[in-house]
Amino acid sequence: MNINVLAFGIAKDIFGASAIEVELPEAGTVTDLRSKLEEKYPRLKQLASYMIAVNDAYAADGDALQQQDEVAIIPPVSGG
């Protein structure tokens, strides 16, 4: 399945785009997505940390993804 991944902050600079498509096996998890992204964009590993959000909420590593999910990379936040 193809997952559309939104990027914000420094993740947008790393991807060179505000959204990218990532191909994952059916029922792929957040961990699978991380591995795939880090393989393609090694600079992600230099971040202090980053979270994955699914449908506007922070996701856990074991959560399964579905094609229609809204997925986003959340690099360290710095509001306020």
Binding site: A57, Y58, P75, V77
Partner: protein
């Protein structure tokens, strides 16, 4: 009562304070974040704030709700700006009203501290010789 806002427009501090005022509240605590002119001795020219809007609004709502559950506070206002801000401008206003001051102080501090940890808003600092996403790297 909760008032959450994420906006490109300047924040109206007197209106924020007026919104939380109420006869049953004897204490109002207000936190105002401003754009500082330097980071670690480097002059800051301006900041840019970017948000994952729909998730940021949800997380802001969540924090306000948690504050109201943890402390006896009557009103919580949380406004944050996006876009370009100059030195001295105000990216965030938090106002909390409670019957007594202790709850207002504690809730206000909790809200700003938690916002800085969980709300998907990012700040980029612009210096004379470059720019950097704050907190991105260890």
């Amino acid at each position: 009562m909760v008032d959450i806002k994420l906006t490109e427009e300047p924040l109206d501090i007197p209106a924020c304070v007026a919104w939380v005022m109420s006869p049953e509240c004897g204490g109002i605590d207000v936190f105002i974040g401003t754009v500082r002119n330097a980071t670690k001795g480097r002059a800051v020219l301006r900041l840019e704030f970017e948000a994952y809007r729909q998730m940021a609004l949800k997380e802001m709502q969540k924090i306000a709700k948690q504050a109201m559950e943890k402390w006896p506070v009557q009103k919580v206002l949380l406004h944050h700006r996006t876009g370009t801000l100059q030195v001295g401008e105000v990216p965030v206003v938090i106002a909390v009203a409670a019957a007594h001051r202790a709850a207002a102080f504690d809730a206000c501090r909790y809200i700003i501290d938690t916002l800085k940890q969980t709300v998907p808003i990012w700040k980029k600092e612009f210096f004379e010789d470059g720019e950097v996403w704050v907190a991105a790297h260890p």
